[in-house]
């Protein structure tokens, strides 16, 4: 497994957000989904920097939507997770589960 097959922490969060949005994922919805679930303010620049990296790793694919008036006549870019991306997120989830399994967070970290 190469270095490029790993998902970093924020990459992991973004891929999970894309999976949750299932076909409705573009900059605005991804940013809101992450803010809603993680309660942290995220910039659109951070989202696109990560999506760009994920696309280079072929974990996500993107397609252009139609321009809309509420966006000043600009298009949306929709993202979806590829099979390779799903495999990467599954692997990361398994690793996290393996590391956290059996840990008692309440007693270990008061």
């Amino acid at each position: 497994m190469g270095r490029r097959d790993y998902l970093g922490e924020f990459e992991h969060i973004v891929v999970l957000a894309l999976l949750r949005l299932n076909g409705r994922a573009y900059g605005v919805t991804v940013r809101r989904e992450i803010e809603l679930r993680t309660k942290r303010e995220v910039s659109i620049g951070a989202i696109y920097a990560t999506l760009d990296r994920l696309e280079r790793k072929r974990f996500v694919k993107s397609s252009l939507g139609e321009p809309t008036p509420e966006r000043g006549g600009r298009s949306k870019r929709f993202f979806r997770v590829t099979t390779k991306g799903v495999a990467a997120v599954n692997r990361t989830q398994r690793e996290i589960h393996s590391l956290t399994e059996g840990l008692d967070f309440i007693r270990s970290y008061p």
Binding site: G27, I44, G45, Y48, T68, E70, S75, K76, R77
Partner: protein, 210 residues
Amino acid sequence: MTSQEPLIHPPRLATWLVSLFAFAESEIILGDLQEEFSEFVFRVGIGSARGWYWRQALSTVARQLLVGFRLSPWSTVAAVVGGWLLDRYAWQLPTLVIFAVLHRYQIYEHHFGSYLFFSTSGIALGHVLASLFVGWMVGLASKRRELLATMILVLVFVGMTGASTLWLAARNAPILWSMFPWYIADWFAILIGGTIVRSHRVVSARQPST
């Protein structure tokens, strides 16, 4: 917001900065920001929405600079080194040209006031124009990373000026403080040169879709 409601424009300067610095996705990012900004205006008011927009724009600019450098560090460094070498040559040109002209037309003998102006402020203005040319060339050489390359070049010059000033101060040597406004003007000229190239490319990239 419905499509019948008028589009409320976000801060123009912040929008301009994003369009200049965003590496490849500026129109998509600006569309996302516009969409959320319009909703924020109705939800929290124009003042808070503008503050949110500025925070998002500045954070996006910082991220895009990092992405730009990470994607092509060597071509960016090559453009900066090339710009530095070009600046060493370009900086001498105004002095050579102005003194050649002053000598050729014997300005010293006939118009001493003009001679004084051209041999001091004229040369300094020439340096500003030379810096503009250097920034323009660095911008041309670093496609889509024009501002990143020119900003790094300016930081190199700021560092060199700071180090040489400290070196002179440590030896109690005289420091030409009167030249500092001209140095700052040179640095701005380099940035403006890069900005001109970037702006031209942004406008050219938009033209086919309009």
